[in-house]
Amino acid sequence: MGRQIVHRLLVSFPALLGVLFLCFCLLQVVPADPAMIIAGPDAKAETIAAIRNELGLDRPIPIQFIEYIGRLLRGDLGRSIISNKMVSEELALTIGPTVELMLGAMLLAVPCGLALGTLAAVRRGSIVDRLIMAVSVAGVSMPVFFIGLILIQYVGFKWGLLPFTGRTGPVWEGGLPSLILPALTLGLVLIGPIARLTRTAVLEVLGADFVRTARAKGLRETVVIIHHALRNALIPVVTLIGLQAAFLLGGAVVTETMFSWPGVGRLAVGAIVSSDFPTAQGAIMILAIAFLTINLLVDVLYVYLDPRVQRS
């Protein structure tokens, strides 16, 4: 198992380099020349050249890239043009809320999706099955912001049940009410795909020999479904959750913007709107690295769940 993980890490390394290089390019193609901005509008050519030399902007691109990585390793992402704070500090403040939002959404979506999908598979062809599948197709087709708009309008505004702007604090310090609506928005769009795939996977497993054996042994139906069928059906479902990571991330950006949730996604969108390139670059990089990490974790979980992968 250890070898598998090392191998997977080696494979994701080029992807990580690609991500870093693209983020580096993002800083390179910025329309304004940083040296000219620092030197001011009527600086002499020599002054600009001196500043360029000082900032290392006259060195070849590959060397600049290596220097950029060196700075990253030291945690230096530059300063925000707007607030003049260190980008790394701004990111440190926003990562927590984003992780909290994503975990909240997953905690909601995964059990619901698994339960609905299994129920649909067990009651295959019945009205329950058709209803669950219809709802999940509708869920897959729903824009994230549509669900958010409805929840804000009704639960937040009309019925006044829950807060719908900002975050009052971490969950363990009474921040739970402000987390519920954003997490619900993000989680609801994930239930559909998870339920759909769980149904297919459980149906496939229910036809397998070992399920027939388990039934023939006289095991109770719930034991057969949960221990034999669902456990094996989890394997494709875990992969799907990995595939949904892109969806989760994109959805998180939209959700954070809608609910003024102080996360990385909202930071990125705000920075882009105000042309704050260092902040935008840092936020996009963190989101891309988060995406790679989720996929890595999913692969590790996959190896753990399916012993057959280990042997091959």
């Binding site: 991500v19 993002l26 087709s141 824009p143 939209v254």
Partner: protein, 294 residues
Amino acid sequence: MSVETLDTVVRTEETGILSRSGVLRRLARDKVAAVAALLLVLIALAAVFAPVVAPYDPYLTDLTKVMQPPSAEHWFGTDNTGRDILSRVIFGTRNTLMLGLVGVLIGGLLGGVLGILAAFYPRADGWIMRLVDVMLAFPAILIGLAVAAVAGAGLGAVVIALVVATVPDVARVARGAAVGIMGQEFMEAGRAVGVSDRTLIWRYLTLNCISTIFVFLTLRFGQIILIGSALGFLGMGAQPPTAELGMMAAQGRDFLFMAPHIATIPSCAIFVIVLAANLLGDALRDVLDPRLQQ
């Protein structure tokens, strides 16, 4: 065997998958798919003939009729500057559909070429697939944000994001299909009688992969529209006053408590389009290419 007879062998293989009339007949039997297809055709027609269909000018503001709820005069009501929402939704659908189509077509073309080349030239396979992996490391929304950060928000940023979102998955599907066809006897036979690589790739390989790629793109279309409208919602796409469904929803958000219909109607329009596309895609997959079921 001469090249001509080989060609007929290849062709029969094609028509086996692509016999259009059979497909249409089988699709028509599926009631849900038929309704979805009809709905999509109507939406597409309304989008194409938007200037004729729309009852009002989508950009004409009328400050005497601000934020009116739906009525006989304005079916979907009016927005915060008194513009007719039905007309804006029709024009917005035009822009949203256009974005999705352009993204899917360019992405499908690039991805298809990459996947087929990867299958045909084993030497390039590793490199192409590694490139695809790197592309997969960037979720579409992030690409949209990155492009908008560099080049400024606009329809271009969204199209690039949608293309990048389409290419890697299509490349994988196309490669998978092409590898299967590479193992068929007619490929070997074609090589043996000295058919050029170009003809092999075009006539033998590509034509046989097209239906698989087509089905996959239909399945992806809904998702692509969702990504495009999410970028529009974030303000990275079309800029006001251009009507685009995602952006219209974002603008209506400011008036959500006074006039919820301004934001909800465009969102609902996206939902209907994507739902119809997904239902049709599912049905098409079942009919054309059951292998893609997973």
